[in-house]
Symmetry: C2
Subunit: 208 residues, 2 copies
DNA sequence: GCTCTATGAAACGGTAGCGTCTCGCTGCGA
DNA sequence: TCGCAGCGAGACGCTACCGTTTCATAGAGC
């Protein structure tokens, strides 16, 4: 599942491997529990049981539920392989396909409703979540900026709005409609926003 | 076992005005509390206290927290005045403007994260929420269909995807980015999706 | 005015999670 | 090999909420 690296805040050297192991397994369990029962339903005892550790071990490393959840969300990484080759349009399709796929089944997708809920209650969680989302969207905006430069994306468009038009529908179908966003829908989506793209990318010079 | 009322809203005549008043004030309080503390944090006692009624009064009308929340969500109405005059484009702008406005501040917006969370845990809540969302989106799809008929919206587009492109960004900014979606963004959004139409929608010939 | 019933308040036992603590055990590093 | 620190297990007092029950009050309909 989540092969999270201990790259959280531990710039300091972890001496004892037992500590590192405990922290890793507890954070992973926290995400599992969070996805299962949500933010309000998450309990420290449930996380400890799911991690197979004692409750006191959790309290040894975190003050309580809130700090634990914050740390767990911080460790939530996006399993997205950012493409570097191909036209901008092709790369957008790939990125959105991965987005739709991870929206259908991933730790992140499972935790998303709980994170949204938690962000609503706790400012720190909101900051963390907004940062993660903003960074991810910025990559798409950068990709679109490249598309504007080479003519694949029309000039004059607000690329942030355009990026939200690409990401928003996937989010809407996951959270509000509870229906999948399949590959053909991604094609429709990109065609809607970047024009009726021809299968051949050689005629990228199309502005009329 | 507590019997459930066949009608959740106002279909059946309530004999005693005290009963009607209790149900109304409790459901309203349930939405307030839901928006304040979320689904997991909502308690029957908090709802009763916020409604200014006794706890036993709540249990007299609902089996428990789940049925109460379901009923409250069922009664959550969209405060959207659907426009009937003007071009399709103008009406789309009005609808999205209202959407963005109610996203910024409304009972519905306050409760949305909690409802999303609740829908994730309870199938009944999911069904209710999906129905509400689907109905609202369908109105926009119908509007776009009218636009296709009179040439304001290009042919061949998947109108459901298009509707999600219009609604998705507003949702994304509310839930993930926690930043407002103002009027100018609505204009950008519509321009992005329905073509760069200034006040005059005469440039409908774009798909050729 | 007189029932009749919905109501508010409160007490009740039961359950669940909190956060702290102690106590052996064991893996780690020296 | 030894000392230490992290560990699990669990008991603890505490608080909050659950869902039920009782009872006196007051508002509604006749």
């Amino acid at each position: 599942m989540t092969e999270s690296k201990p790259s959280t805040v531990d710039a300091v050297v972890e001496l004892d491997p037992r500590v590192e192991r405990s922290r890793r397994v507890i954070l992973s369990a926290a995400l599992d529990v969070l996805g299962d029962v949500g933010y309000g339903g998450l309990t420290v005892e449930a996380v400890a049981a799911h991690a197979g550790v004692g409750k006191s071990t959790v309290y040894r490393h975190w003050c309580g539920k809130l700090e634990l959840v914050e740390d767990a969300i911080r460790n939530l990484k996006a399993a997205v392989a950012w493409p570097t080759a191909g036209t901008v349009r092709e790369r957008v399709v790939i990125v959105l396909g991965q987005m739709a796929e991870s929206m259908a089944e991933s730790t992140w997708s499972n935790c998303l409703p709980a994170i949204i809920e938690a962000a609503e209650r706790d400012p720190e969680v909101m900051t963390i979540h907004r940062r993660l989302t903003t960074e991810r969207r910025q990559l798409l905006v950068d990709l679109l900026t490249e598309g504007v430069a080479n003519g694949e994306v029309p000039h004059g468009a607000d690329l942030y709005v355009l990026a939200d038009c690409l990401l928003g529908p996937i989010l809407l179908r996951r959270l509000l409609l509870h229906e999948p966003f399949d590959t053909s829908a991604v094609d429709d989506l990109v065609a809607q926003l970047l024009g009726p793209g021809p299968p051949h990318p050689d005629d990228a010079a199309r502005a009329s």
